[in-house]
Symmetry: C2
Subunit: 191 residues, 2 copies
């Protein structure tokens, strides 16, 4: 288990990833951008991000850290580890960044209650497993950083798996867990 | 459930809290300090902390955020809420700051395995309950902030409850959970 990695998503006029579409799924959206860079491993503040990404002034900066899993149990971890691909596969030229903010009612649930909603009733982990190894995924936590989004999930997949990815997000959005999502933005990208 | 609150512990030559004793329980200690300030609600970096605490140059700065509970279940939360006192009671003139860092083996456990060690086998939550309402407690998470300590726990109690507090920390340190503690510093304070 690696130490938490801080990751900064820098949105602006350009970047390694080109924005194909973006919009709000729930709540307030984000200012539109044309490109995105993903910067790993150091805290990048808004006023220094321009230097990091080659002199462009960012439109916005979102930050999160990887962390230990909060819900996965041993058998589930074994299944995930056996099937999940790494980020950066050459063929995975499509990506999605989905920032999420959950409601106070979610955070007021206890750990065991959140697990019941997330997996026993919403099948979040089991559903994700069905789309492996096609869809690579990395979850970043922003809540403890004081960020506006609790979670930033980053996905990478090949163009041929676009329909599968759409199905995955559609299934998750139909679950009981998603009743606790107050704000969600969906950004699709390509490189 | 309140949003996470960032809290900065600023150690140096003086402060609202006077250091009565400090030392390493496991692993490397911290540079000795004479006083401590607890600053709530904003990120205080080392180079600006001096201004916050009245012009003194800090010896060290530790940061953490409050967060949702990670292990407590509904019945346990109800028992805690019914009995736990707030910080800042006038009679609670004794305090302890206990920074902890857990091993990679801890973070490699899954959520359910950590719960089994923490509560089913180590009785961390049940033991803490026995010392309520005498000992007020607030847990701060540093791991996602990239801090050197995973946890900073702050305790406040009246002088008459000093022996009870010693017993509490002694019992916790004797548990299976504490086998996962790689580094622990114990700082006792008064005001």
């Amino acid at each position: 288990m690696a130490s938490p990695l801080i990751v900064t998503f820098v949105g602006g006029a350009g970047g390694r990833w080109h924005v194909e579409s973006m919009g709000a799924v729930a709540g307030e959206g984000l200012p539109l951008i044309a490109g995105l860079d993903v910067v790993e491993g150091k805290a990048v503040e808004a006023d220094t991000a321009a230097g990091v990404v080659g002199g462009r002034t960012p439109r916005w900066v979102l930050r999160g850290t990887t962390s230990n899993e909060r819900y996965v149990e041993r058998q589930e971890r074994a299944a995930l580890v056996a099937r999940q691909p790494p980020l950066g596969r050459p063929e995975a030229t499509c990506a999605a960044l989905i920032p999420l903010h959950k409601s106070p009612a979610w955070w007021d649930l206890t750990q065991d209650e959140r697990r019941v909603v997330l997996e026993d009733r919403s099948r979040h982990i089991a559903t994700g497993l069905e789309y492996l190894p096609a869809v690579a995924r990395r979850l970043h936590h922003g809540r403890e950083l004081g960020e506006e989004f609790d979670f930033l999930t980053w996905f990478e997949y090949a163009p041929a798996d676009t329909d599968a990815f759409e199905e995955l997000v559609g299934r998750l959005r139909a679950t009981e867990e998603w009743a606790y999502v107050e704000r969600e933005v969906d950004i699709r990208l390509s490189r």
